[in-house]
Symmetry: C2
């Protein structure tokens, strides 16, 4: 199989690239390095079955050229941080919605008909059913990020109907693990590395969240593509559990051996549009035979260990 991975130098993208190469696939990574890291492709670059194309997903012509001959596109390029939507609303529109449109049009031009897409549990907004299934009551969007990802899903589904595409749409919880570059473990570790005596927490610390280890995430993607059929296959991807932000703080500070004074910004949300409770019903993907190997706690601890071993990452990020 030949695969094109947009965002192939990113956290999840580069992990997927390595796993695809490990199975014997041909892989083209397409990345503009706005948030990707060349270091993440260190294993892939010497592989003769691998090609890296530096380009922007908004450049439809370059994208179509890059995907010629591919059997499937893994569209992972995105503005992946849910938190800062109101600071630059156009960024989510451009990088998530319009970029997805460009990917779909490039697929039409290049004759590629299969797409796997990284959507998000954020599209459930303030869900009213927990764990939240894929066919939950039609939600109302609460974040620019969720809105822009839902728009991407909608475009993909319409292309499946209109142009005979097949799609796997994955609604991720937050993904953790090696090469993780943003999110609460990153923020907490960076803060504690600078000052182990104090940690400031967004919200009240009682936000309940679900996380998934990146290799488990890739396992699930492979399982779905091999075993789930249909025009548009929509699958939640997460753990069968959730934790409180305060649980995570306990695990992180315990592993670091620090006892910081905790202060809280207050309120039940970490930021505007934050969902105070994310817990997805993943029985649909589990019925395909997949289950995560790591618990949330193990995923968080692996992530922390990775960040400790790679101090350059903390330097390279705001």
């Amino acid at each position: 199989m030949k695969a094109l991975v947009t965002g192939g130098a990113g956290f999840i993208g580069s992990t997927l690239v390595d796993r695809l190469l490990g199975r014997g696939d041909e892989v083209v990574a397409y990345d503009n390095f706005s948030t990707g890291n060349r270091q993440f492709l260190a294993d892939a670059l010497p592989n003769p079955r691998f090609a890296l194309i530096e380009g922007d997903v908004l450049d439809g012509g370059a994208l179509a050229a890059a995907m010629r001959g591919a059997d499937i596109v893994f569209h992972l390029a995105a503005n992946a941080d849910v938190r800062f939507g109101t600071e630059h609303p156009q960024k989510d529109l451009d990088q998530n919605t319009i970029a997805t449109f460009r990917v779909l049009e490039a697929m039409r031009e290049a004759g590629v008909k299969r797409i796997a897409y990284s959507s998000t549990g954020s599209i459930y907004g303030d869900a009213i059913v927990f764990p939240t299934p894929e066919d939950a009551p039609f939600p109302v969007q609460t974040s620019l990020y969720g809105a822009s990802k839902l728009a991407g899903e909608a475009l993909i589904s319409a292309y499946c109907e209109g142009f005979g595409f097949s799609a796997w749409i994955f609604r991720f919880v937050s993904i953790l693990g090696e090469r993780y570059t943003h999110g609460h473990v990153f923020d907490f570790y960076k803060s504690l590395a600078a000052d182990p005596t104090h940690l400031h927490v967004l919200g009240n610390g009682k936000q309940r969240k679900s996380y998934l280890y990146v290799q488990d995430c890739v396992d699930a993607i492979f399982t779905a593509i091999e075993r789930a059929e249909g025009k548009t296959v929509i699958l939640n991807l997460g753990a069968n559990e959730y934790c409180e932000v305060n649980d995570s703080i306990g695990w992180i500070t315990g592993a670091l051996g620090v006892i910081p004074r905790l202060t809280y910004a207050g309120g039940d949300r970490g930021w505007i549009g934050d969902s105070p409770f994310i817990f997805l019903d993943c029985s649909r993907v589990r019925r395909l035979g997949w289950a995560p190997k790591l618990s949330i706690r193990e995923g968080i601890l692996r992530t922390l260990a990775y960040l400790r071993a790679n101090p350059w990452l903390l330097e390279s990020r705001k």
Copy 2:
């Protein structure tokens, strides 16, 4: 109240303009006349409380200038024909999704915080619950039009959460009545005017659809804005009934006094992405005290009478 109406020279937009002026409101119509008609504003133009601004909704600067001082934006400008999405996918993206984003950004710039939006029952895709309520199971999009309108809804909802906007999102069935310029009554009448002996029907004629008379639609919009509160108010707008395409053909041919030979393209859908059954649960808006005054049959016959009285409209359209 001062209102800005995008698409104010269109079918529904111009009807809304006249009704707002009739209540004593100040109105600015904003239209690029790509499908709008200056004739539809014949009553409005002499009114000192009315202003017409010729401009494109994608021109955010002009839009922001036009809406300065407005209390509410009625965002009706759209690519409103669900049928031709696969012929020009970018049109729905530009005119429905990106245009809605420009409207929202213009509102931020101009300090306007209330928006009413014309969405569509097409966003329910192939619904599985009939009549379909607003909180139906999370649907999968089947048309570029529906996808682009859902993206618009999502953006608006996220702006309500992120920027303190209030929104009324109306999911319309097909709207009928005076100034109607596209849809099946238009197509059937035009075809029968040219050749009363034969009518070719898309699909098998058994598609079940719901329609609403345009003045009933405007009544519902006014009712909702006056009586429904909440950050994002989402309301289906339709009749409490549906009809088959074949029923409509019977009413139209009966009124015209013609007995055409009918041929059918076949299949249960009129076009790619068509929903063979649209029937919305409108109990939410009905609980506000609104009910349609005209039946579907009456709405179709009024529409037909209007088209017969205005032959120039048939000439001006492809």
